[in-house]
Amino acid sequence: METMAATLPARKPYSFTNGKLAMWLFLGSDAMGFMGLIGAYIVLRITSPNWENPKLDPPFGINLTAFMTFLLIVSSVTMVTALSRIEKGDRKGLLFWLAMTICGGLTFLCLQAYEWTHFIHAKHELAVEYTKATTLAAPFTNYQATFFSLTGFHGLHVTIGVIYLSTIWIRSWQGAYTAEKHSPVELVGLYWHFVDLVWIVLFTIIYLLPDSVRDL
């Protein structure tokens, strides 16, 4: 029996690693988390008679968020380039393109912080005016709640992604990956592309959809 086992070729039931399967399972469950939030957003938005339009707020100007979208698309292409470099055994290329991806993620986070700061400031001024006029505390609208929940949850993913990418960059610098052994680089790539993919959806439903979806 032992001799027979030794002569048989090693069986490889699936064409992917356990790590890749685990990452896909995680991304699947994470996608359902996002869908819960997006579903709540859609119901609240459709059932609301008045929904604020982020395109009309100066700090939100569509140019900024369109640039943020472009930035994530660029960071996706730098990520796949990093992976293709290490597949060819080019460690310097891996380090460079991973660093570019990290820069893209950090710039995205800075722009989101800028957007949030302006949003909070603008809404605070409106709330002060409302209180002066009505002597009531300004309500926290569904629009604000869903905006912060969705973009905040995504921003958290970008933050974790930047930390994850930085860890992989350090391991690359230490020489942990080769052309034959680079599974962690592929896994961090999957995570990063997922973050990009979610933003594509958020950009459309938060910033681009018409003001009154119910009037469609």
């Binding site: 869908m35 859609i42 119901v43 459709i46 993919l197 594509i200 459309t204």
Partner: protein, 94 residues
């Protein structure tokens, strides 16, 4: 990822298409005149195309086996169920 996948990744072509689609989305909102239904439908189609391109080419689903497809598509099935469940609430008069 298979050897075939490594040999023929159209990464930069996909990047170009994603960029063009993003510009097209903005033009669709601000430049092209149409009804609100067409606006939402066009945006939905362009976003779906971008998501598919990222999933297929950047996440390499195009080159993966059936099991990973099942893992990736299962949440999408649940999304359809969730949307069907939310419709009564969304369409109820406010």
């Amino acid at each position: 990822m298979s050897e075939h996948a490594q040999a023929s990744h159209p990464y930069y072509r996909i990047f170009g298409i994603l960029t063009v689609l993003t510009i097209a989305e903005i033009l669709w909102v601000y430049v092209v005149p149409h009804s609100r239904a067409m606006l939402a439908g066009g945006l939905g189609l362009m976003a779906a195309a971008k998501v598919a391109l990222v999933g297929l080419y950047y996440m390499h689903l195009k080159y993966e086996g059936k099991l990973l497809w099942v893992v990736a598509l299962f949440p999408l099935t649940l999304v359809v169920v969730m949307i069907a469940g939310l419709l009564p609430d969304a369409l109820a008069p406010y």
